[in-house]
C-alpha cells in the first residue's frame, strides 16, 4: 500500500507540470492577444504597443517566456490580475469557498439520490422504477444546467418566492441566509450528475449481480435481501469511490456555468469573467487552481480505492 501510494503521489508531479504547460500554450496560441486585451479600444500607436510588448517580455521567443513563467507558477505565483490589481492567489482564495460549498453539496445530493436509485433500478430491472429512473436520467442529462437553473428561479424564486433568486452570503450572515442561496444552485447542478450516477451504479450493480458467486449465494438459499446487500453491494461498493471522484470533477466543471446563473462569486465565475475580459494571468491561475482541486480529489479517491480494493495495488 505504501509503495503504491508513493508511486501514485510521485506520478502527480508530471501531471501538474503537463497541466501548467497546456495552460501556458493554449492561452498563448494566438500571438499578441494579451496586448490587444490590455490596450482594448484605446487609440494607441504602434510604438506604444511595441513598448508594452517589450515591458511584458512578450517580444522574446515563446520558449524563453515559458521557462521564465514556469518556476513562478510552480510555487503558485501567477502574478497580478490585470483587472483586480491584486495577486491572483488572493483573488482565488477569496472565491474558492463558494465553489467548494457548491461542489460538495451537489456531490452529497447526487450520491445520496443517485446511488440508491441506481441500485434499486438494477435489482428491479425492467420494473417501473427502472424505467422511470432511466427516463429521469436521460432528460436530466439532456437539460442544459443553466436553463434548469433559470426554470428553478422562475418557479421557486419569482412565482413562489420561497428562495432568493441569486446572489451569495457567507455563513457569517447566518446559516439560513447562506444555505438558502445555495439550494437552487445545488439542485440545478445535481440533476445531470444524478442521471450519470444512476446509470453508472445500475450498470456496475447489474454486472456484479451476474457474477457466479451471486448465483452461488442464491443457491445456498440466502434471502434475496441478503444476497443484494451483503454480497452484491459490498463488491459494487468499490465503484462508489470512483463515482465520488467523478462527481466531484463534474461538479467543479459544472460550477463554472451554475455560478454565472446564480451570481455566485466563486472560482467558476472568476474564470468566465477573466475569459471575457481576456485577463490571461487571471484565467491561467483560476483554471490551474480549479484543475488542481480536481486532481487532488482524484488522487485521494485513487488512494482510497487502493485501500478498499487490494487487487489494485498489483
Amino acid at each position: 500500500m505504501f509503495e503504491y501510494a508513493l508511486r501514485r503521489i510521485i506520478s502527480f508531479i508530471p501531471t501538474i507540470f503537463i497541466t501548467l504547460t497546456l495552460i501556458f500554450f493554449i492561452t498563448r496560441m494566438v500571438p499578441g492577444s494579451p496586448i490587444s486585451s490590455l490596450v482594448g479600444h484605446q487609440a494607441v500607436s504602434a510604438e506604444q504597443i511595441d513598448a508594452i510588448t517589450r515591458d511584458l517580455g512578450l517580444d522574446r521567443p515563446i520558449l524563453v517566456q515559458y521557462l521564465e513563467w514556469l518556476p513562478h507558477v510552480l510555487i503558485g505565483d501567477f502574478g497580478n490580475s490585470l483587472f483586480y490589481k491584486q495577486p491572483i492567489i488572493e483573488v482565488v482564495a477569496e472565491r474558492f469557498p463558494v465553489t467548494l460549498y457548491l461542489t460538495v453539496f451537489s456531490m452529497i445530493v447526487t450520491i445520496s439520490i443517485g446511488m440508491p436509485l441506481g441500485i434499486y433500478a438494477a435489482i428491479r430491472r425492467g420494473g417501473a422504477v427502472d424505467y422511470a429512473s432511466n427516463a429521469f436520467s436521460s432528460i436530466g442529462m439532456a437539460m442544459p444546467s443553466f436553463w434548469l437553473g433559470f426554470l428553478l428561479i422562475i418557479v421557486f424564486a419569482v412565482s413562489l418566492g420561497w428562495l432568493p433568486a441569486s446572489g451569495y452570503r457567507s455563513p457569517d450572515f447566518g446559516i439560513w441566509n447562506w444555505l438558502s442561496r445555495l439550494i437552487l444552485p445545488v439542485i440545478a447542478q445535481s440533476l445531470a450528475q444524478i442521471g450519470l450516477v444512476v446509470r453508472m451504479t445500475r450498470a456496475s450493480m447489474i454486472e456484479v449481480m451476474g457474477q457466479e458467486y451471486i448465483t452461488m449465494a442464491r443457491a445456498k438459499g440466502l434471502s434475496e435481501t441478503r444476497v443484494v446487500l451483503k454480497h452484491a453491494l459490498k463488491n459494487a461498493m468499490t465503484q462508489i469511490t470512483t463515482v465520488i471522484g467523478l462527481t466531484f470533477a463534474l461538479g467543479l466543471g459544472g460550477s463554472v456555468i451554475i455560478e454565472n446563473v446564480f451570481a455566485l462569486p466563486g472560482l467558476g465565475q472568476l474564470i468566465t469573467i477573466a475569459a471575457i475580459r481576456r485577463d490571461y494571468s487571471m484565467l491561467e491561475g483560476g483554471i490551474f487552481y480549479l484543475t488542481l482541486v480536481a486532481l487532488v480529489v482524484n488522487l485521494i479517491v485513487d488512494l482510497a480505492y487502493a485501500y478498499f480494493n487490494p487487487r489494485i495495488r498489483y
Binding site: V30, S138, I139, M141, A142, P144, L290, T291
Partner: protein
C-alpha cells in the same frame, strides 16, 4: 512470428461489418431519430417556416407575449422568437456536424496511430490524457478566450474537448485486434500497415466510434449553448439558443417565455442524440452498457 499454422482454422473469416446488428431496430434509436428528424427539417427549411427575419430589430414590438403573429412572442429588441428559434437550429446543427466530422477525422487518425505505433502513443496518448485533466468544459473556455468568439472557433474547441475520447476508443480497438488471428492472416498474405489498419482493424472499431460520435454530437450542442450563454461562443446577433437564454435572463420576471423555449429546444436536440447513441450501443452489443465500456 507465431509458430502455429494460421490457415488451419475451419471457420471462414466473416467480412468486416460496421455494426453487428443484434436487433433490427432498438426503440430508443427509433425515438431518437423521430425526435431529431423534425429538428433537421427545421434547420433546412428555415426560410419556408418563417417569413420573419431573426435579426430585424423592431423596438416598439419588444417583449410581446405569445400571440398569433408571434407564437413565441418577441424579445427585448422586438425580434420574433420563433424565427430566432428556427434559425438557431441551424447553428446548433452546424456546430454539431462540424465538430463531429472534425472529431471523427482527428480521432480516427490519431487513435489509429497511437494504437499501432508505440512512439506515436507516447506523444498522442500523453497529450490526449492531459487534455482530459481539465474538469468539465473549462478547456473549451480557455480555448475560446485565446482564439476569440466565433462559430468556427466553437467547432474547434468542441473538437479539442471531445477528440481524446474518440482517440481512446479507436486506440483500444486497434490494440485489441492488433494481434488477432485475422490480422496476422492478412499480414501473412502480404497486407501492409495501411491496409491492415484501414481495411481490417478499423471496421471493427466503427461501431463504438459511431456510438461515441452520437454522444459527441449531443455534447457539442450542449457546449455550444453553454459557451454562447457565457458570452464566449457564437457572438451576437446570431440567434444561438444559448445566447437567447443569456439575453432572456434579464427579463425572467416579466417574460418567462423568452427563456423556456430555447432551453426546451436544446434539451430536445441533446435528448434525441443521446437516445440515438444509447440505441446504437444496444444494437451494437447489449452487453457493452452493463460492462460500462461505453
Amino acid at each position: 512470428m507465431s509458430t502455429e499454422p494460421i490457415g488451419t482454422q475451419s471457420e471462414k473469416l466473416s467480412p468486416p461489418r460496421a455494426i453487428a446488428w443484434h436487433q433490427r431496430a432498438n426503440p430508443m434509436f427509433v425515438v431518437g431519430v423521430l425526435m431529431l428528424t423534425p429538428l433537421i427539417l427545421m434547420a433546412i427549411m428555415a426560410p419556408f417556416l418563417t417569413f420573419l427575419d431573426p435579426l430585424s430589430i423592431n423596438a416598439p414590438q419588444k417583449l410581446l407575449p405569445p400571440s398569433w403573429a408571434h407564437p413565441f412572442g418577441t424579445d427585448h429588441f422586438g425580434r420574433d422568437v420563433l424565427a430566432r428559434i428556427v434559425y438557431g437550429s441551424q447553428i446548433s446543427l452546424r456546430v454539431g456536424i462540424g465538430s463531429t466530422i472534425l472529431t471523427a477525422l482527428f480521432g480516427i487518425f490519431l487513435g489509429v496511430a497511437s494504437g499501432w505505433y508505440h512512439w506515436a502513443d507516447a506523444i498522442i496518448g500523453r497529450v490526449s490524457d492531459s487534455l482530459m485533466i481539465f474538469p468539465g468544459f473549462v478547456l473549451a473556455i480557455m480555448i475560446m478566450a485565446a482564439i476569440g468568439p466565433s462559430e468556427f472557433n466553437v467547432i474547434i474547441s468542441v473538437t479539442v474537448l471531445y477528440v481524446p475520447r474518440v482517440i481512446r476508443t479507436v486506440r483500444a480497438s486497434v490494440i485489441e485486434f492488433r494481434g488477432a488471428e485475422f490480422v496476422e492472416a492478412a499480414r501473412t498474405v502480404g497486407a501492409g500497415d495501411f491496409r491492415l489498419l484501414f481495411l481490417h482493424i478499423l471496421p471493427k472499431a466503427a461501431g463504438p466510434v459511431m456510438v461515441q460520435l452520437s454522444f459527441g454530437f449531443a455534447w457539442a450542442i450542449l457546449v455550444e449553448a453553454g459557451l454562447s450563454f457565457l458570452g464566449l461562443g457564437t457572438p451576437p446577433p446570431t440567434p444561438s439558443w444559448g445566447s437567447m437564454i443569456a439575453d432572456a435572463r434579464d427579463f425572467i420576471r416579466s417574460a418567462w417565455w423568452l427563456i423556456t423555449v430555447p432551453g426546451f429546444m436544446i434539451t430536445l436536440a441533446v435528448l434525441s442524440l443521446n437516445l440515438i447513441g444509447d440505441g446504437l450501443r444496444d444494437m451494437l452489443d447489449p452487453r457493452l452498457q452493463s460492462k460500462g465500456i461505453l
